[in-house]
Symmetry: C2
DNA sequence: CCTCGACCTGTCACTGTTGACACGTCAAAC
DNA sequence: GTTTGACGTGTCAACAGTGACAGGTCGAGG
């Protein structure tokens, strides 16, 4: 339930409407904790019912400005200071890596290379972002930069890992493939069943 | 819907029961694509209904052994070769970083230091795991090692980032805190509202 | 005057994930 | 002979997140 805390954190800085918050989730928060419209409006309502927020003003076009309450601030601080139970990590990319021996070695290498390129592009995007932002010495600049640096380091790590990984793949492991779009021609190849059991 | 493909990938290597697969999700896959019992059994049923799997044998204690079918293999290959739409990334840790200016600077530093220590521990755990696994030169060893290497590099990156980040925090940004467990004493400090708007 | 784009709020059905519950069996140790 | 523990299957309620739908308002430009 971290969306709740993202909302509280944002509103602790300054009051805002759902629409305002939505913009933030599409920009600043997009790489940290994305959220959709339905989620934001829904959670704002629940937070208000729970007394952690209140509607401090109603403007034109039905705009509602939300303000954090004292219980809300307390909740935010509690969350910030609380030890975090580790969230389950899921990586579709690594899942694919696990099964890369099912396709031809050059395809597998191509996959990793593409991942590396994507990571580099991501890194370049973040570097460009860093250039374009007018960093001052306020708290948001300090912590925003720290978060951004994480993204840059992560991208660099992925790129170098992908290059290394592509080089680890031997000349050929399992040969067959399925052409670009075609279904494998059926038949019982059955083979490939003698792999070692676990790797943990 | 990657659980589906994880199941297909596992069963493409060798037939197994839900229980067998569950063990794998608790060990090898735990750091890549964890899944609970209800998910595994449920998905196996759906996959069988869809004709991507079939029950190849029924053993003692109601054990059902599932085998991948040709359509299942085709689906797996298609997925492996398909370009992946990027999944939304969520990091509760980075979300906290965004709001770290709400607590005292030494607390913020402590948070980052703790993150670094946790990352180092994770890295050490993976290194120990690497030692304990009898790597051969089979495909599972190759790709398992590649995935493991990712985890190690990720942990190292997080540790060094955390150290760097802790050093970025100035002597003090915002002063107040809320003691170890106490609620903030209420009152309208209101201040802290003049932060720059966006950072994207 | 009208249209268009930005503003602004909300709901709904669906999927993936979680955690708890519920049930029954077989082998080995006591 | 009974208990214990691993084996083995399944269901259910609840919740987070997604994407589409549905509606309405205000200001500026043609």
């Amino acid at each position: 339930m971290s969306l709740r805390h993202a909302l509280l954190g944002l509103l602790d800085a300054r009051p805002a409407s759902g629409y305002d918050l939505l913009k933030t989730f599409e920009t600043s928060m997009a790489n940290v904790w994305p959220a959709t419209q339905s989620q934001v409006y829904g959670e704002l309502g629940r937070l208000t019912d729970a007394g952690l927020l209140e509607v401090s003003a109603e403007g034109a076009r039905g705009r509602k400005e939300y303000t954090i309450t004292d219980p809300g601030r307390a909740e935010l601080r509690t969350w910030l200071l609380a030890p975090e139970p580790p969230r389950p990590v899921r990586s579709e990319m690594l899942l694919r890596v696990f099964f890369l021996d099912r396709i031809a070695a050059d395809r597998a290498r191509a996959y990793l290379t593409a991942q590396g390129a994507a990571a580099e592009a991501r890194g370049a995007g973040l570097a460009a972002l860093e250039e374009s932002v007018p960093w001052d010495d306020g708290p948001l600049s300090t912590y925003g930069r720290i978060a951004l640096e994480y993204g840059k380091r992560q991208a660099a790590m992925q790129a170098s890992w992908a290059a290394w990984a592509a080089a680890q793949i031997p000349a050929d492991t399992s040969a067959w493939d399925g052409a670009t779009g075609g279904a494998p021609a059926g038949g019982g190849e059955g083979g490939a069943a003698d792999r070692a059991a676990e790797n943990q």
